[in-house]
């Protein structure tokens, strides 16, 4: 195969991988602190995408600028979800919590269907179709922004967890929930903060994806499964790992698409997924509780 194709595959893979990492980082954070697999993550992203869409359609707010509004809004939504839905069921069996988030996802998706129908909507901004070439490889600007946003967000989260008190409390809770409670951390509040932060992250992801993708009630399905794969790959609760995992999955998918026949590209990704679970269940980069 030609070098041009290889270059294109690598570039597309990195851009796509960044998007996966972006979606996965909030998921990873929520898992790390709360120990729940949040199936509603994708649905929350979908709601954020609709919020971005409506802010643009009704008030002309640029999707990137709308982050200033959507991030706090979805932080609040996350806090509410945690306080109202998840927290009261903390002592319930794990599969109940799992089903709870699944139910929440179905609720959000069908709510969106009722409110906005199954219509595909797109945000058309001047830069939606902006692109440039690196050699023979096409680089789409909105995808590049999303990918860059993923890196920035991961760095920002990392700094937040290292440098702030809330961040330290979050890490303490992730490491040792009982110990955290014993040293006087308000664990219920921190759990709410974790869910809020995770939701805010995925809201940012949604806003960054909107300029180059469509918005529909089931849009999350394009990213959801990959986000889970990425989280497992990077190590549950390790969002730097999630970012790296995102790039790995994106590259695997893109190279698979370029050099393997048919729809084998998905096979490559899920094969890596199964292999990691078999031989390195804590993830390539270790989980938050890697002991």
């Amino acid at each position: 195969m030609t070098g041009g194709l290889l270059l294109q595959a690598v570039v597309s893979g990195l851009l796509l991988g960044g998007v996966y990492g972006l979606v996965a980082s909030g998921l990873s954070l929520i898992f790390g602190v709360l120990r729940i697999i949040n199936f509603a993550h994708g649905a929350v992203m979908m709601l954020a995408m609709y919020t971005t869409y409506w802010l643009f359609a009704l008030a002309g707010v640029d999707p990137y600028l709308s982050v200033i509004l959507t991030a706090p809004l979805f932080f609040a939504l996350g806090v509410v979800i945690q306080k109202v839905v998840i927290e009261p069921n903390r002592s319930a069996a794990e599969h109940n919590q799992l089903l709870l988030t699944l139910g929440l996802a179905l609720f959000f998706e069908n709510l969106a269907l009722v409110l906005w129908q199954g219509d595909f909507r797109t945000v058309r901004v001047a830069y939606s179709n902006a692109s440039f070439m690196i050699g023979e490889a096409l680089v789409e600007v909105p995808r590049l922004v999303a990918s860059g946003g993923a890196v920035l967000m991961a760095v920002g989260l990392f700094a937040f967890l290292r440098l702030t008190d809330v961040g330290k409390a979050l890490r303490a809770l992730a490491e040792e929930p009982e110990g955290a409670a014993l040293v006087g951390i308000n664990v219920a509040r921190i759990r709410a903060a974790a869910f809020g932060l995770g939701s805010a992250c995925v809201a940012v992801a949604g806003a960054l994806i909107t300029p180059f993708f469509y918005v529909a009630p089931d849009v999350a399905e394009s990213f959801n499964i990959m986000a889970f794969v990425v989280v497992v790959l990077g190590g549950m609760g390790n969002f730097m790992g999630a970012l790296a995992g995102g790039f790995i999955v994106g590259l695997a998918e893109s190279l698979g698409a370029a050099f393997l026949p048919g729809s084998l590209k998905q096979l490559v990704v899920f094969m890596i997924f199964v292999l990691v679970l078999l031989f390195r269940p804590q993830g390539l980069f270790g989980g938050s509780r890697d002991r």
Partner: protein, 421 residues
């Protein structure tokens, strides 16, 4: 015309309608008491028809369009006096949601039949249809396929399944035929063809036919790429297509994926004579076109369509526009027409007996129809004998029929300069 539009307002039952129907019931009851035999009128007040569509889930948008067509037809039928041979019985549509899932298709079909549906229209996806046809066959219930194109649906000597529209083979070969005829007229030979299709039953069927048809037509299929409907990026796939230097890129897909392909192909300057949809859910879709004017101009699509030469089709088109505020397209056309195939059969069967309706459908010879084809008739397996797709091209932001010639409303633009790059 007034009768025509009156039924399309779709409002709630007016007081007058209510009173007159109530009166009729009383009259019927009185007739029974008096021992009159002619009480058919009062007995058959409605004919229940079930639809099975993925109204929620990934195909919700497309299903909604088909549903509009169904609703339009039912309103028109009921407003103009229902099924006359059944004493003016009104058609009641009973909803069934498959969510595009096989298991739900089966259970919803069973439920609809239990609740008295005399026929089932649906279910969009070929995969679901393949499973549902066993339920309808077992229950001896006519099953009118909508949108589903996979060839194998009518195989196996089934009695109760009917497909008005072209199957996969007809869709693919007739569309490729139409394209080649056009290319010949334009003196632009097509030698190398690339195909991208979603990897479900629908896309794969189309891919198989385009591949198999290459020998007959003498073209080389230089790339055939199945892809997952949910892929968030198809740049690598399209780079592969570009590297193979095809004259034509054929795309069989649903809405979001087809959009992604057209967008990426444009950015990559793919360099083909035309980008052609094959039973594509986006490329002749008025909404897609309206939202992507520049991208969609001069896209082709081989699809079900209404006949622009038919006065009735134009009236239906206008009625759809009025009722739903959007442009009628392939799925709406089918939903509308398939309901009238059933209506025609009900009139001739003069019964709600499922077997009699089935026999009436089998004998259909309906020339008062809105499709780009001759009279609707069925062969022994239940396939539409005259089923033909139209070749559609987007011109000035409107999907127009450019082939076959006798239905065409405009001349095709081919080769397309912008795709040639």
């Amino acid at each position: 015309m007034s009768e025509h539009t009156r039924g399309l307002s779709g409002g709630p039952v007016s007081r007058r309608t209510f009173l007159s129907t109530a009166g009729l019931t009383t009259a019927g009851a009185a007739a029974t008491v008096a021992g009159f035999p002619a009480i058919v009128r009062a007995q058959t007040r409605e004919v229940k028809v079930g639809y099975l569509l993925p109204v929620t889930g990934p195909l919700a948008y497309e299903a909604g369009l088909a549903l509009n067509g169904l609703a339009l037809a039912v309103d028109e039928i009921n407003a103009s006096g229902g099924i006359k041979s059944l004493g003016g019985a009104k058609i009641t549509m009973m909803p069934g949601d498959t969510q595009n899932k096989v298991e739900l298709g089966n259970s919803e079909a069973s439920r609809l039949i239990d609740q008295g549906a005399v026929a089932i229209i649906g279910p969009f996806s070929s995969l679901v249809a393949f499973s549902v046809r066993q339920v309808t066959e077992k229950n001896k219930t006519p099953f009118l396929l909508l949108a589903a194109v996979a060839d194998n649906l009518t195989e196996g000597g089934l009695k109760y399944i009917f497909r008005m529209q072209p199957n996969g083979r007809g869709m693919a070969t007739l569309t490729v035929n139409n394209m080649f005829e056009m290319a010949k007229n334009a003196n632009v030979p097509i030698k190398r063809v690339a195909m991208m299709h979603e990897d479900g039953n629908f896309g794969t069927t189309m891919g198989n036919h385009v591949e198999a048809f290459s020998k007959t037509m003498g073209y080389e299929l230089v790339q055939r790429i199945p892809y997952n409907l949910r892929s968030p990026d198809l740049t690598s796939e399209l780079s592969k297509v570009k590297a193979a230097r095809p004259d034509l890129l054929i795309v069989s897909g649903y809405y979001g994926d087809s959009k992604l392909i057209a967008e990426t192909a444009a950015k990559l300057r793919i360099g083909v004579s035309a980008l052609v949809g094959l039973a594509n859910a986006a490329y002749s879709n008025p909404k897609f076109i309206a939202e992507n004017r520049e991208l969609t101009e001069h896209l082709f699509d081989g699809n079900y369509w209404y006949n622009p030469q038919s006065a009735r089709a134009r009236a239906v088109f206008a009625a759809y526009q009025k009722k739903f505020g959007s442009t009628m397209a392939n799925h709406g056309v089918q939903g509308y027409q398939v309901t009238f195939v059933l209506k025609d059969a009900l009139e001739r069967a003069a019964s709600t007996d499922r077997d009699k309706i089935r026999d009436a459908i089998a004998k259909t010879n309906l020339s008062d129809q809105i499709l780009t084809q001759d009279a609707i008739r069925f062969d022994d397996s239940g396939e539409g004998i005259n089923a033909t797709p139209a070749l559609i091209q987007v011109q000035n932001g409107k999907p127009v029929v450019v082939g076959p010639a006798r239905f065409a409303e405009a001349k095709p633009v081919f080769p397309v300069p912008k795709w040639k790059g």
